[in-house]
């Protein structure tokens, strides 16, 4: 006899069975996929946390997206991507420890470190353990022979700087230029190459020795003497996203009316909150998300990132690329999955569609002119101008 209790019991059993079948199905589908570990060693804490955090979150967003849609097919196998992260706290010693951890985990492809000294420090570990790594650091020695395991993950300032200064000289009448940099290896080396590029273009360099501690909170004393020199362009060499709005605001409040630029990637929200309308006209180097050039896939990436972490970081416009390059290169040559020598061979001829840009843009390795070998990701050199809370594309360049 069917009564209410037996009906409920049957329904409950049915629901449990359905859930069990679904769970078995899901786990079976997941079990079919192998796991591919990709490492990240970079700074995700301290004043420069924004650099590494945007890196690692870009990787995690893209990996989650790929895993959700069935994984990545490389050769005959399909892989779920597992991002293994290590916070080096911008300390070269910890960066070495991080790279050793990656080696112990059998990882062959690592994104990072974010700064020069960390990238230089991990080189022996990476080379000894067959790891290709993708630093966001500019020293040429990392990418020139005999080095061969590092691949520059973005546009270097000595590539974007001359293009920006030339554009501003020709289009905005810039004649006098001043540089200010944090007293750290990355910004100082970027300043030096910027000064060199400016002089080569025939610009008058009115300030090139002014520096500040990276933890400076009030830049008025730093900028007071520079503003008095009335440069047409003030270059914030290698400026950290946390410091850019403070420097811009201090310069404008001191009455500076010229142009301000940097060759590092910045975040529009940070500029808006920290400098407000003072940031209008600020020129920086971006990646792929300005409306003029972003593809639908890039827009979906931004949406997924925002959903996953609550807020997008415009620095990820550049940092979205490294994982894509690794996976697409492995797809092009599956033998590279455990053999970085195969990866290096593939780099010379690799080409794939760029999913993040509109049109026929391609992913390829470049750097032959700057480094004598292809050890750089071809990331679009998008020079942006900040305006009322968003970036607008000023011009797009490329590196060969």
């Amino acid at each position: 006899m069917i009564n209410r209790r037996s009906t409920l019991k049957s329904m409950a059993l049915g629901a449990v069975s359905a859930l069990a079948i679904a769970a078995v199905g899901i786990s079976h589908a997941q079990a079919e996929n192998k796991e591919l570990k990709i490492g990240f060693v970079g700074v995700t804490s301290g004043p420069a946390a924004a650099w590494g955090t945007s890196n690692v979150r870009s990787m995690q967003t893209r990996a989650a997206w790929l895993n959700e849609t069935g994984g990545v097919k490389i050769g005959n196998d399909t892989y779920n991507i597992n991002i293994v992260t290590f916070d080096d706290q911008k300390d070269p010693k910890r960066a070495i420890a991080g790279m050793e951890k990656m080696a112990q985990e059998g990882i062959h492809y690592v994104v990072g470190p974010n700064v020069d000294d960390g990238a230089a420090a991990v080189r022996p570990v990476a080379e000894a353990n067959g790891i290709i790594y993708f630093p966001y650091a500019f020293p040429k020695a990392l990418y020139q022979k005999p080095a061969s395991n590092a691949v520059l993950g973005m546009i270097a300032n000595y590539q974007s700087g001359p293009a920006i200064y030339k554009y501003l000289k020709e289009n905005k009448g810039v004649k006098k230029i001043a540089f200010v940099a944090a007293n750290e290896s990355d910004p100082l080396s970027q300043r030096d190459s910027g000064v060199e590029a400016a002089k080569a273009l025939g610009l008058e360099v009115v300030a090139q020795n002014d520096t500040y501690q990276n933890d400076t909170r009030d830049f008025t004393p730093v900028l007071t003497p520079i503003v008095a020199l009335k440069p047409d362009l003030l270059v914030l060499s290698g400026v950290a996203p946390a410091n850019a709005p403070l420097l811009i605001r201090a310069a404008r409040e001191l009455g500076y009316e010229g142009l301000i630029s940097t060759e590092t990637a910045q975040d529009a929200k940070v500029l808006e909150e920290g400098a407000g309308e003072y940031a209008n006209g600020f020129i920086s180097v971006g990646g792929a998300s300005t409306p003029e050039i972003a593809s639908d896939e890039m827009k979906e990436f931004v949406a997924r990132y925002t959903k996953m972490f609550g807020e997008y970081n415009d620095e990820s416009n550049t940092k979205v690329y490294a994982l894509e390059y690794i996976l697409d290169t492995l797809k092009a040559n599956p033998a590279a999955i455990n053999d970085v020598a195969e990866f290096k061979k593939t780099m010379d001829s690799f080409s794939a569609p760029n999913p993040f840009l509109k049109g026929d843009a391609k992913l390829s390795y470049v750097g032959a002119t700057s480094f004598g070998q292809k050890r750089q990701l071809s990331v679009p050199m998008v020079v942006n101008e900040y305006k009322d809370g968003a970036f607008q594309t000023l011009f797009v360049g490329s590196v060969d």
Binding site: N209, V222, P225, P245, E253, E273, G274
Partner: protein, 288 residues
Amino acid sequence: MEQVIANGLYLGAQYALIALGLTLIFALMNVLNFAHGQMYVLGGFITYTVYGQLGLPFVVALLASGLTLAVIGALMEKFLFRTVIRRSHREESTMLLAAATAFFFDAVILLLFGEKQRGVPKIVKGVFNDAGIIMPYDRIVVGALAIVFIAAFVLYMQYSRVGRAMRALAQDRVAAQLMGVRVDRYSMIGFAMGAMLAGVVGGLLVTITGVNSGIGGPISIKAFLMVMIGGAGVVGGAIAGGFILGMMESVGLTVLREYGDVTYLVIFAALMVFLSVRPNGLMGKPWG
């Protein structure tokens, strides 16, 4: 030169306020609070949330920063520092505890507020530009508020019952106890006040310099520098240390700019020489 002096005075007022809370806690408990900078950062983020995100009046945000940090400071004293001071015979234990709380706060702040630099709308717009001095009005307001807060703090310590009790504790803990001062109670109030000052100055300065999760450590180091110059545990010393550091920074960054980033090199070298001559700072009490 007028601009350099104005910059130095503004920086000095700002620095003095940062150092006050640190020196108060040291005076009362002989605790070097390494988490002072993190408390400042937390105060900044609370003001950012209340004023910048929720759109409530700035005064409310400042009160929220001060009160939250006061409660956190009181809890830290009651459940952490009091216990360690009672049980441990080594002064390093409190330093280790303070360092641990600093790391803890760093991690919590990063988790709660993220990695980005944050800022809030200016509380006063416009720039004063006259007599060779350029100074945004919001800095003038913040500088004036800093001086008002410092004066109020000094008066409170000098004339209030709580202030007198805390000064007695700072001068001689045992004698104060024998005279009937409730050591536990006033230690807790002192720690809460020190933390509150850190929170208030963090909230105040978020309008000028913004805030991000990684600046706690550097803020603490700068505060220690001021306290070392002026003398640990003496309110007047912290104020003097703040103004001296502010002025040295402002003058150094102008006069030495052609030589690269040597200003802090010179400041540290001068500090080493100074401390070898006056190890307790300008007006500090002996360590321990």
